[in-house]
């Protein structure tokens, strides 16, 4: 590469000054459980540490809820259900509107906390996670007194106590996705955040207090897998909503079978992002980057399998690598950061395991140069070229910033390859031809299809998968069905 063109190369010699987000956020040394509107000590008396994955510094101690604590939370929710479900919808709505407003007011505080606890760039927590979380409460608030219009011919009734288990990739946003429709429909909730990212869910409990939400309507219990299992198996739960891995989803489904509990599952994915030769290539490259490197690839709907039409392979790869090199990896609290920290040491290990498998298969790997900070968990944006359909890199969900690139010649071929996966959560299509878009979007077996865009979310837009990506939808009019008994 000539000296002149090197100057055009991103991230060489034009370093940005640090621009850390400075809003101070108070974090308590220890967090109790939020049950029946009160902060109560876990009966287990056990705590576990939550750390900042970008620095490995301990942020706080989180209570580990035992089976007994789960029982208390479910009982509190069951008690609250009586009055909450009978409250006129318009009154429930006003509580939920309040929650949305307070979240908007305290948005920056939530964004900073989310970034510290989870490692995602402040740009994303500030512009995506927190505003969308508030929007979810605002949207669902309005449904509370309009439910009978959503299902023509049926009488919608709340179900009861909803047990909700959420993952660590969008901690606050997933809490909002779960809680907002549940309480708008008149249910009460026991929610368990993921053990590495409890802080924003616990702070959300503070928002509920501030909004004056009646005690027991939402209970937040913290812990790991055994706490989640106790919640799933509790006989006082009428509805379970889980977002996480397909593996755990299957375990939950088996343990719920025959119990009569209603279940919705939002599980893994291995989305195809398909670029045709007639696509606007520059925009497609942006979409590829956003599809796989957004939130360090910790996204169930990430566009982790890129299918490029052979005729534009060189151009796409060259532009993609160029764009990758402009991504800034580093301090998640810095406003210029594009790629933050991997959520946990464990997840980093999983990603590295896949990278070594890919290399062992003899795949061509491209990774951004430049080191990573000494402390914390990091993975540079990575891609594998010319991946075979049978490769583990193309088959399994990695949940990290790792892109598997495959090529294709014909439409039929790419449809077949794209659908050749047990998953079916999302897909992307890039082409300038409308009829081709509609052909593809109707053939792809996926619950969400982004055409000439990627990774867009909205509370009005139903989200959820086909096949082993789970069942049920979250968001929009379709998402309400998960939280109602619909009587004929």
């Amino acid at each position: 590469m000539s000296k002149k063109s090197k100057n055009l190369e991103p991230n060489t010699g034009w370093d940005f000054d640090p621009a850390p987000e400075k809003v101070p956020v108070e974090i308590k040394a220890q967090y109790d459980l939020f049950i029946d509107g009160k902060w109560v000590k876990a009966t287990s008396k056990k705590f576990f540490n939550t750390i900042n994955p970008a620095t490995e510094e301990k942020l706080s101690e989180i209570s580990e809820a035992s089976e007994k604590d789960v029982d208390l939370a479910v009982k509190a929710a069951a008690k609250a259900f009586g009055s909450w479900s009978k409250l006129p919808g318009k009154e429930r709505a006003k509580y939920i509107y309040r929650i949305a407003r307070i979240l908007q007011e305290r948005a920056r505080e939530f964004a900073v906390l989310e970034t510290m606890d989870g490692g995602k760039p402040i740009r994303e927590s500030r512009d995506v996670d927190v505003p969308l979380a508030a929007a979810h409460f605002f949207y669902h608030a309005g449904w509370a007194d309009k439910l009978e219009y959503a299902f023509p011919g049926l009488k919608p009734k709340p179900i009861g106590v909803a047990g909700q288990i959420i993952p660590w990739n969008f901690p606050l946003l997933m809490a909002a996705w779960k809680i907002a429709p549940a309480i708008a429909c008149g249910n009460t909730v026991v929610l368990k955040p993921a053990e590495t990212t409890s802080l924003t869910a616990l702070r959300l409990a503070e928002v509920f207090e501030e909004a004056g939400l009646p005690p027991g309507v939402v209970n937040i219990i913290t812990g790991a897998g055994s706490t989640g299992a106790a919640l799933v198996n509790h006989p006082g739960i009428q509805k379970i909503a889980f977002t996480g891995s397909t593996e755990v989803g299957k375990v939950i489904r088996r343990s719920v079978a025959g119990s009569g509990k209603k279940l919705t599952l939002e599980l893994g994915g291995k989305a195809a992002n398909i670029v045709f030769e007639d696509a606007a290539i520059d925009q497609a490259v942006e979409g590829i980057v956003n599809g796989i490197y957004f939130n360090q690839g910790h996204v169930c709907c990430a566009g982790s399998r890129l299918f490029v039409q052979e005729s534009v392979r060189e151009e796409v790869l060259q532009k993609l690598k160029f764009r990758m090199r402009s991504l800034i990896l580093g301090d998640p609290l810095d406003k210029n950061t594009d790629v933050g920290a991997i959520n946990s040491a464990e997840q980093l290990k999983t990603i590295q395991h896949y990278l070594s498998l890919g290399k062992k298969e003899g795949l061509e790997m491209y990774q951004n140069a430049g080191g990573t900070p000494k402390k914390g968990f990091w993975c540079q944006p990575t891609l594998f070229e010319d991946v075979a359909q049978s490769s583990v890199i193309a088959q399994e969900e990695i949940f990290g910033p790792v892109l598997a690139i495959q090529t294709f010649r014909t439409i039929d071929e790419v449809i077949q390859k794209a659908n050749n996966t047990p998953y079916g959560l999302s897909a992307g299509v890039w082409t300038d031809k409308g009829s081709k878009i509609f052909n593809l979007t109707s053939e792809l077996k996926a619950g969400v299809v982004w055409a000439n865009t990627y990774n867009k979310f909205d509370p009005t837009s139903p989200f959820g998968g086909y096949k082993e990506s789970g069942f049920g939808r979250e968001g929009g009019i379709h998402g309400l069905a998960a939280y109602l008994n619909l009587e004929g």
């Binding site: 599952l265 082993e468 004929g488």
Partner: protein, 292 residues
């Protein structure tokens, strides 16, 4: 001298053909007084697996047909059944239905087919939506058929229950493999003849006769089946099926309310649909929606 009747051999209906069970097993179907009505095929796991293959093939092309066409094929089923009412009344009477009950069963079946023929091009508008997202995108959600559906038909309405399952699946663009009522299975095989002559593509509807104990777990654990329905009221069997459904996350529905009372609702079609949401940017020069 009275004429000797020609007795009918009842076989299975798989892939648009009427094969005997590969297992060679049969069982005697008895009338209310213990008399022999016929020898029925006792379908095996392999028969079931053989029927998934044509069901998968037929489903894709059925789903791509226009809703208008699907509607007409369902209506055609009713036309064919109407013409053979007497045969079905006779067969139901063999199984102990009174003349009045038998007539009602056949008439209800006809109503059911006509009712759902009408839904085939209407449920989409009821269950789809355009979603007002807060960005510069056009966003809509539509229904798509789940795919291959396997069902155990209710025991008590051998024809009406079967027609209900066929109607609900076909109206929604799915294919069906159905285990006929164990009490009155020969009626289901005669209905297969109606299906066979009604422009229903071969393999779209497959009808098995046999015993649920040996088949339901295979129904629920088959990796190329998208949804299973249990329309009888044994909660233990239901749990077994739900459990086995987890292997490939197939959709499971316990429609036990149908046992004894068939009721119509487009929400049965809705159960066998996936919701797909599509996003596309809208070009608006002044908006900020073009960012990624």
């Amino acid at each position: 001298m009275s004429r000797l009747e020609v007795a009918k051999t009842y076989k299975l209906y798989i892939g648009g053909k009427f094969p005997r069970t590969e297992s060679g097993r049969t069982y005697q179907l008895k009338g209310p007084k213990g008399e022999n009505i016929a020898n029925l095929c006792q379908a095996s796991r392999k028969d079931f697996r053989e029927s998934v293959i044509p069901a998968r093939k037929a489903q894709a092309s059925w789903a791509s047909k226009t809703a208008y066409n699907r509607s007409q094929v369902l209506y055609r089923l009713a036309e064919m059944l109407e013409g053979r009412k007497a045969q079905f009344v006779d067969e139901l009477k063999q199984s102990g239905f009174s003349l009045l009950e038998a007539k009602k069963e056949v008439e209800d079946s006809l109503e059911c087919l006509v009712h759902y023929a009408g839904w085939a091009d209407k449920y989409q508008q009821i269950f789809s939506s355009v979603n007002p997202v807060a960005s510069s995108h056009f966003n809509f959600s539509v229904c798509e058929p789940s795919g291959v559906v396997v069902a155990t038909a209710p025991l008590s309405n051998p024809l009406h229950g079967l027609c209900f399952l066929v109607s609900v699946c076909l109206a929604g663009g799915n294919s069906l493999i159905v285990l006929a009522s164990e009490k009155t299975p020969h009626v289901a095989i005669s209905f297969a003849e109606v299906v066979h002559t009604s422009d229903v593509p071969g393999g779209l509807v497959n009808i098995l006769t046999g015993f649920e104990d040996e088949l339901v777990e295979h129904f629920a654990s088959h990796m190329d089946v998208n949804a299973v329905i249990y329309a009888r009221n044994n909660s233990k069997v239901s749990q077994k099926m739900e459990l086995a459904s987890a292997d490939n996350m197939k959709r499971y529905f316990n429609w036990s309310d149908l046992e004894g009372k068939i009721k119509y609702s487009p929400y049965f079609i809705r159960d066998l649909q996936e919701v797909k949401t599509t996003w596309h940017p809208i070009e608006r020069i002044s908006s900020s929606g073009s960012g990624y």
